[in-house]
């Protein structure tokens, strides 16, 4: 595949990097990335991946846009309140870059549909806002060997980690089971300052691009924690746990399970 003149112009700031070049840009154009969620994190991740020229972006989201989303979910807009988030993200990202094919998947992930959805993608990005989905995506990626770039945000703090099944830790190496619903912060505590997902989503997008061009050090066996109020980053080592129920030596989870989503149902 040769670049068009438009592509040479669009991606010139990539091509002139020794670590990317035309070869790296072709890898980006051929990459297939699945975003779980088109909310606070999915919006900036998808925005940057679309701008970078990731050729295929699958976006899973069954929710519709609400006014309360727009304080941080930057791919959507006021006119689109009521529209499905994956559809809205498709409009925004394809307008930014016609090289990108966005596939909206207007479903809620569960143990019966996730394998069929992720099989078409090289890398999975978790920007979901609930523990049942987070554990389901982790397990599906470990069982299928797909790299997973996971992000989470709450109030003024965010976390990013990159799970490379077989090579490094997974989410369950750290927390074997989702927290019981009572331990999950209540809805009133679930505020988030609007730019925080931009920081964390930007880091997730960077991790994805590094995986695609195969340069640098992924956040393997590492949780990167950002505290916005003190403006500090911390790196926490997460060793691979040999007793991990999904990626350990004697896994007890060999097929997917759903966790009940009876956590806070209030919508933000």
């Amino acid at each position: 595949m040769d670049f068009t003149e438009e592509q040479i112009q669009r991606y010139s700031r990539h091509i002139i990097l020794p670590e990317v070049g035309g070869k790296g840009q072709k890898k980006i154009l051929n990459a297939r990335v699945l975003l779980v969620g088109a909310g606070g994190l999915g919006c900036p991740v998808g925005y940057y991946l679309a701008a970078a020229g990731v050729g295929t972006l699958g976006i899973v989201d069954s929710d519709t846009i609400e006014l309360s989303n727009l304080q941080r979910q930057i791919a959507h807009n006021t006119e689109r309140v009521g529209m499905n988030k994956a559809e809205s993200a498709k409009l925004t990202f394809e307008a930014l870059n016609p090289d990108v094919k966005v596939i909206p998947i207007k479903e809620r992930l569960n143990k019966d549909n996730i394998m069929d959805i992720i099989k078409d993608y090289d890398i999975v990005v978790d920007g979901s806002d609930n523990f049942p989905t987070r554990y389901l995506v982790n397990d599906a990626c470990v069982l299928t060997g797909k790299p997973l770039v996971s992000g989470a945000i709450l109030r003024f703090e965010g976390q990013v980690t990159t799970i490379l099944p077989g090579e490094g830790h997974c989410y369950r190496c750290l927390f074997e089971e989702p927290p019981p619903p009572g331990l999950v912060p209540s809805c009133q505590e679930a505020g988030v300052l609007g730019a925080l997902p931009g920081v964390i989503g930007g880091l997730q997008a960077m991790e994805v691009l590094k995986l695609i061009i195969e340069k640098g050090e992924p956040l393997k066996n590492t949780l990167l924690i950002y505290d916005a109020l003190s403006a500090q980053f911390r790196r926490v080592k997460i060793p691979k746990n040999k007793n991990c129920p999904v990626c350990g030596e004697n896994p007890t989870i060999t097929e997917l399970q759903d966790y009940e989503a009876d956590y806070c149902q209030m919508r933000f």
Partner: protein
């Protein structure tokens, strides 16, 4: 002076930076290690920036020469993939 025979020639007259380097880089990426790329250009700044950028990328600049009132020719040998 040793003469180097180019394996490939690109004419990027009319292009300005950074596209001068973008085009040169895309050309050299497609070549084999040890092959020589000849670049013909007329953007004065690029006659200095392309040799520097090529060396930053680890390639060998064999020649930079002004060949007439407007044009330069640069020869670069690809040193690695």
């Amino acid at each position: 002076m040793e003469e180097f025979k180019p394996d490939r020639t690109i004419n990027i007259k009319g292009l300005i930076c950074p596209y001068t380097f973008v085009k040169s880089k895309l050309a050299i990426e497609e070549m084999g290690v040890g092959e020589v790329l000849e670049i013909i250009l007329d953007y004065p700044e690029a006659s200095r920036s392309i040799p520097k950028s090529m060396e930053d990328h680890g390639h060998k600049v064999l020649k930079v020469e002004k060949i007439n009132d407007t044009d330069w020719v640069i020869l670069v040998r690809k040193e690695h993939d």
